[in-house]
């Protein structure tokens, strides 16, 4: 299979064509532009190696996310970054190439944080390995983590080694009725205390808090925080993770703002807050320039996530940072075989 992919890449390079790497295609909605002929990784599937006591799983990039997660669940483990499933076809390669992380991100880390190693085909079809199957590895530049979130614009990921974690022994959910200012403050204060916080979300006047860990720790936190335990618990977090809550499902335009967690209410439109305040979703058709300015003032950046004119929705990079991106793209993919413009209109 890898040889066939390498052939495709070499042929594309020879013909001056561009390839669009695609796993399940569940994130085709995202990004500035979809350019080039589809290179489908779905056929390159399967778990290569998994030893729960190593806390490492090595999988082919086309493996369905559900397959990876159910295999881990059998052994009481999980992908702690909780990648969203935007469709049945979501693949592990797509999860890492997008770099999208779910509700547990603020507590556990991002998709890139859990990448230990990657086997990739470069823009000339060479089969390369970076990182490894071990927890700690500082030999060479950290290209396997760099590739996470690059949306197939630098290399074709064929295999990934990911760190996995045990599923928490106990889990509980609490709800608090409060306003946005209070919720942002509460999330940040609690995140600064030794509490087993694994996710927070503020939407429609309710602050949702998920506690995960040892039974005793969860029980003690329930006592300490008060609030109410809602009847349906996991359903909420699953819908949050997969963006099927009403605010996501009905939004024709969805903005994503990644900012300093303590920034107060933004007043830009209907919104949902995650990651202890560091991630704000806004379901409104807004002027890109003003959103970008607001995000920048708040120490972060904004992206037009769904709907609207995508190119205008990408936050511009500072000129020297953009120039570095362009040099890196040229260094790793001089001919543009892996497509440009998916994550940014200027590279």
């Amino acid at each position: 299979m890898i040889e066939a992919f390498a052939d495709t890449i070499r042929r594309a390079a020879a013909d001056g064509k561009t390839l669009r790497i695609r796993g399940g295609g569940s994130k085709d909605f995202y990004g500035v532009a979809l350019e080039g002929d589809v290179l489908d990784t779905g056929s390159h599937a399967g778990i290569v190696d998994y030893d729960p006591s190593e806390l490492v799983i090595t999988v082919r990039s086309g493996t369905p996310l559900t397959e990876v997660e159910s295999k881990l669940a059998e052994c009481g483990q999980m992908l702690a970054f909780e990648p969203p499933h935007f469709g049945a076809g979501s693949t592990i390669g797509g999860a890492v190439a997008s770099g999208f992380s779910g509700p547990r991100r603020a507590a556990a880390g991002s998709a890139r944080d859990f990448v230990l190693g990657a086997r990739v085909l470069d823009a000339t079809g060479r089969d390369l390995s970076f990182g490894g199957q071990v927890m700690k590895n500082v030999a060479g530049y950290d290209l396997s983590r760099f590739i996470a979130g690059s949306f197939g614009t630098l290399a074709l990921i064929t295999e990934l080694s990911l760190k996995v974690l045990p599923r928490p022994v106990a889990e509980a959910t609490l709800c608090f009725e409060m306003d946005e200012t209070q919720a942002i403050d509460a999330m940040n204060r609690w995140a600064g205390q030794p509490l087993p916080l694994s996710a927070t979300c503020f939407v429609d006047g309710i602050l949702w808090v998920r506690l995960s860990g040892a039974q005793a720790a969860v029980d003690a936190a329930l006592q300490k925080l008060g609030g109410e335990q809602p009847p349906e618990r996991t359903a909420f977090w699953t819908s949050l993770r997969n963006q099927s809550l009403p605010i996501f499902a009905t939004a024709s335009t969805l903005w994503r703002l990644s900012i300093r967690s303590t920034v107060g209410p933004l007043d830009l439109g209907p919104q949902l807050i995650e990651w202890n305040g560091a991630l704000r979703w806004i379901a409104a058709d807004l002027d890109p320039e003003s959103v970008h300015r607001a995000a920048q003032t708040a120490g972060g950046h904004a992206t037009l996530y769904r709907g609207g004119a995508k190119a205008a929705g990408i936050q511009r990079l500072a000129p020297p940072v953009l120039a570095l991106h362009q040099r890196l793209k040229r260094a790793l993919d001089p001919q543009g075989v892996f497509g440009r413009h998916r994550i940014h209109p200027e590279f």
């Binding site: 071990v134 940040n188 030794p194 509490l195």
Partner: protein
């Protein structure tokens, strides 16, 4: 000795020392530029004291504008630049370049700001790792990565090496605990990488910058993430009558769904060395001991300690001791934390290896190291971050005995090759530096090394930043391959070898 063809192809400098110093002084005060023999001497090596070199000059900027001036000056004059933090690195990453400037960041040591609610601190690169935790302790927060040199090592150096520590299995490495960097490229341009949120626009340049060993740029400001300080920590000391059983116990703890805050192993040679140095109270008849720490709320710790102890017992521990208070916890750790100096007292010199392996290969690798120890006739106590498979074999030798350092270097190379052979890596947390430059040729194939060079060229086209370190030239690896054929005749670890 180093051969001229092994030199990294750094361009010839356009100026001599006097002219370079004159240009540096155009942007730096007099006391920030060192150029006399006696002033340069303290900078001739870092924590890897076996390798020494005197730089052309040392620049000690006091602010970012001065850092930019040094880099611009060196770029214009085509002079190599070696960034240096506290100089505690163990792989020779801050070993000076004989034709280069050592850029010391030790004067930039202020904690710029602390935001307790957002749980972040902005610090300059010369701030000591432990000083961050000390400064934020009043808010119940701390900075998690804790390399054993944390009293002395600087955060800038931690960024360069992607440093780990005893607690990184649970809390991650430097790369997992940094939000934002001010990063100066060789042409003196200031870039902001990352952001105050949890991710940034564009590609993840921080992933490249962290752990790049001073080859891609110089960091002038770091925004670190802070974590709530656990209320309580307790440690279990478990003794085993064989290394294999101790190794299995490590796997069993993890398989039971426990991520200890720290999970460390020491073999008999190491505990013996340590007991002579600090009385940590380790059982000296045990072939191996494990230190298994739990942290969190008192309830959480009690629950986890019970589960850990059960697993350790059923894995064949001959003795289990639980720290009864903070003083005893620190005593149990004192031995582990002083393992390197303890070994240093037994022998004039030692090399500390840093391979990481899949944990299931522990038994095989330890037997391999034992066999190599006999073959080379040098003792080698072992301490490991067992939870993440990171080994620190300590090869003991006496550099005053002719030939013994060469033997130690060859022994070390064999250990690292063994780590690669079982699916591991030549360096878990100390970096490649100059020490492991040749083993990079064992771990990576030419096409992979070429990719590293392509990345380097996007940042530093003239290869002026820390040349000769971290990533070997293909030429060097080819040369090394032929040296392997003539094993025994190679003289492969002497300076100068840029």
């Amino acid at each position: 000795m180093g051969k001229p063809e092994l030199l990294d192809p750094t361009p010839d400098a356009l100026v001599d020392r006097d002219e370079l110093v004159r240009r540096l002084l155009a942007g730096l005060p007099r006391h920030c530029v060192l150029a006399s023999r006696e002033e340069l001497k303290p900078y001739e090596c870092d924590g890897l004291a076996a390798y020494r070199e005197v730089p052309l000059a040392v620049a000690l900027p006091e602010n970012e504008a001065q850092v930019r001036h040094v880099l611009r000056t060196c770029n214009d004059a085509r002079v190599p630049v070696v960034a240096r933090g506290a100089g505690t690195g163990l792989s020779g990453g801050a070993l000076p370049h004989p034709r280069g400037v050592t850029l010391g960041l030790s004067k930039m040591k202020s904690i710029v700001s602390i935001d307790p609610l957002a749980r972040t601190a902005i610090v300059q690169p010369g701030v000591r790792n432990l000083a961050i935790s000390e400064a934020v302790a009043q808010y119940g927060l701390y900075y998690a990565p804790d390399p054993s040199s944390q009293i002395a090592c600087s955060i800038g150096g931690n960024i360069a090496e992607n440093s780990g520590g005893v607690h990184c299995l649970k809390y991650g490495l430097t790369v997992h605990n940094v939000l934002k960097l001010r990063f100066i490229t060789i042409d003196g341009e200031a870039l902001e990488l990352g952001g105050e949120g949890l991710d940034a626009a564009g590609l993840d340049l921080m992933a490249l910058a962290i752990g790049s060993e001073g080859l891609l740029g110089v960091v002038t400001e770091i925004t670190v993430k802070l974590l709530p300080k656990p209320q309580l920590a307790r440690v279990v000391l478990a003794a085993f009558d064989s290394l294999e059983k101790a190794g299995e116990a490590v796997a069993n703890v993890i398989a039971a769904g426990i991520i200890p805050a720290g999970l460390e192993m020491m073999d008999k040679l190491a505990t013996g060395a340590v007991e002579q140095f600090v009385r940590a109270g380790y059982p000296l008849d045990a072939e191996a001991i494990l230190l298994c720490e739990s942290d969190g709320t008192p309830e959480e710790v009690a629950e986890e300690i019970e589960r850990m102890s059960e697993v350790l017992r059923s894995s064949g521990a001959t003795e289990i001791r639980l720290s009864k208070d903070e003083a005893e916890r620190l005593k149990f750790w004192s031995g582990r934390k002083s393992a390197f100096p303890a070994v240093g007292r037994l022998m004039p010199d030692y090399f500390c290896m840093d391979g990481t392996i899949p944990k299931r290969q522990l038994g095989k690798v330890l037997r391999g190291i034992e066999a190599l120890s006999k073959e080379f006739g040098l003792q080698c106590p072992n301490v490991f971050h067992a939870g993440d498979g990171n080994l620190h074999p300590l090869i003991m030798f006496d550099a005053n005995v002719p030939g013994q350092q060469d033997i130690a270097v060859r022994f070390g190379a064999k250990i690292l090759e063994l780590c690669v052979e079982v699916g591991g890596t030549i360096t878990g947390e100390h970096g490649v530096g100059i020490e492991k430059i040749d083993q990079m040729c064992v771990q990576f194939r030419p096409a992979e090394l070429e990719t590293f060079h392509a990345v380097k060229s996007a940042f530093d086209p003239m290869r002026l930043l820390n040349p000769g370190k971290a990533v070997p030239t293909l030429q060097r690896c080819a040369e090394m391959g032929s040296m392997h054929v003539h094993r025994g005749q190679e003289k492969f670890a002497h300076l100068p070898r840029f």
